[in-house]
């Protein structure tokens, strides 16, 4: 067997973001933490931690951390079957999961709540662009991820969840100011547009898809799902918003859809470590159930049922990978 006190020191340094904090968690001195990590590095024959602020794992270090987190999860399940085994400490297993901001802000949380209710387990959610959540699974930082990546990460299972539909919206005052003469590509490029962050290419892809034009509009950056919606509501700019969030302000007339029916779908997948851990299976079941309720089915190679008729949702539009 591997030397778990050494591995636990490594994982604690990465998880806690520092040698001192890891020492507090482990109940040893910071110099003991350093010694354990040096001992592990000598055995492995490679550097495991870049001593930056905060410390970051090398590739080898990340693999070892991923291993520790998996063992910890399995131990957590064992402890719930055999309570006498559980040592001191909280003992409640926590599942690290990467989610894109728009999923967290629009459909993911009811699944998380049912999972937690059923299992008593905790979730440590990590936010990232859906184009990058799979990398966090690959590095072992998380054990499951909502991702735009359909191909299974090594050691993981993947399943398609469905499409998160986006609609291009603005406030009525914004529409009156910038689109009084119609929503044309030229008008869209004159009006200020919102971008989640530099990686967010959704607005540009939508303009390309529906108007065959490059996006050159002046751009605000607002890196928060709800802040993004609020920024459209107060008239800062037009933008694509997830339909589950935009539906109510659209129905109330506080937002207007710029080109009715011209939505854009982002297909999401669920990937999780192939561990046979009950916690992961329960979370997978709840996530799949919530996705079936909240996301749009995706037409694949074979015929699939049509999206459920829902008057608040516009007609489906071909799928396009996106970076938010």
């Amino acid at each position: 067997m591997l030397d778990y006190p050494l591995l636990a020191a490594l994982a604690a340094v990465i998880r806690e973001g520092g040698f001192e904090r890891a020492a507090v968690v482990l109940g040893v001195t910071p110099s003991a933490v350093s010694q354990r990590i040096r001992a592990l590095e000598e055995r492995v024959g490679a550097a495991l931690v870049v001593r930056s602020q905060p410390p970051v794992p090398t590739e080898a270090g990340a693999r070892l951390c991923a291993h520790v987190e998996k063992v910890r999860l399995l131990e957590g399940e064992l402890a719930s079957d055999l309570p006498a085994l559980a040592g001191p400490g909280p003992g409640v297993p926590a599942l690290p999961v990467a989610v894109n901001a728009d999923s967290l802000g629009s459909w993911f949380l009811p699944a998380a709540a049912r999972f937690s209710e059923a299992t008593g387990a905790l979730l440590h959610l990590v936010l990232d662009d859906e184009a990058h959540t799979a990398a966090r699974l690959r590095s072992g930082e998380v054990l499951a991820a909502v991702t735009a990546e359909p191909a299974a990460v090594p050691g993981c299972r993947t399943r398609r969840l469905g499409a998160l539909r986006y609609v291009a919206c603005a406030s009525p005052a914004f529409q009156a100011r910038y689109f009084a003469e119609g929503v044309t590509a030229a008008a869209l490029n004159r009006a200020p547009v919102l971008q989640f962050d530099r990686k967010d290419g959704l607005q540009a892809r939508w303009l390309r898809q529906h108007f065959d034009q490059a996006l050159t509009a002046p751009t605000h950056q607002v890196p928060s799902t709800q802040g993004f919606l609020d920024a459209s509501l107060v008239g800062l700019g037009w933008a694509l918003h997830p339909l589950p969030l935009a539906a109510v302000p659209l129905a109330e007339g506080r937002l207007v859809e710029l080109v009715p029916g011209a939505g854009m779908d982002v297909v999401l997948h669920w990937q999780h470590a192939r561990l046979g851990a009950r916690l992961l299976e329960t979370l997978t079941r709840e996530v799949a159930a919530e996705a079936a309720r909240s996301l749009f089915p995706v037409a694949g190679l074979s015929a699939l049922p049509e999206p459920a008729p829902d008057p608040s949702r516009s007609a489906p539009v071909p799928t396009d990978p996106a970076s938010r």
Copy 2:
């Protein structure tokens, strides 16, 4: 004068997150970008960019980038006075500003909208913990910040905005399940609690302040302001939420305050580069006006007016610095 084409190449690499993307923006080849940065490094006699993915500036590189962003802002203002001066390109100045997530999610955006409406300028918002936004100002990544740091960053002006009040809340079902026998320190440490991320010590500080106890409760991590509120609404855990966000669900009975009147105030400050730029002055005015409306006045050394009587707000509580 400094060599601005070289400086612009450096700033573009950092802003765009890569040599290729910087080349596209500058309209030159990636190798021209590399040459310019090497030339600048030779003149400065120091490395300016760590060639990682994405590239990150060294301390010297960050200072040069900060200088470029300031010059660009001043040029943007000049161009609006002397349109003939403006070269090709969008020409709309964008102001990089760091904001903590809870401010963005609760009170900041109306000020941003009025600023943008009045000036036509763009905002590039960067999210960080209010304990860390001042560091982004110090590094020159942003020109203004909402921060918990009262002392002026070198080259900046600082002013106190007021206190963002937090209240400890849970859903009624959660309260019935975990606090049927009263909200005691023991019950609070048995019930699952939410944490924004590892840096978020607000719940622990609240428990220490009102119950003189350490927080040992099982902890979910949900790193999104609105997601944090939604997680309490669906019953994932109890947590401290900004009063401007929690007020409506509290009034509607979808959240309950765990210990009525036991809020916690986080004092926020506004710091901005001392530039004499009109854009910064306009934004400062709008931010101060919105803060006066939405935040609580802070009792200082001298007598200050009482908070405006507002039935939806509980009695003021002594100030405590916090990390969210």
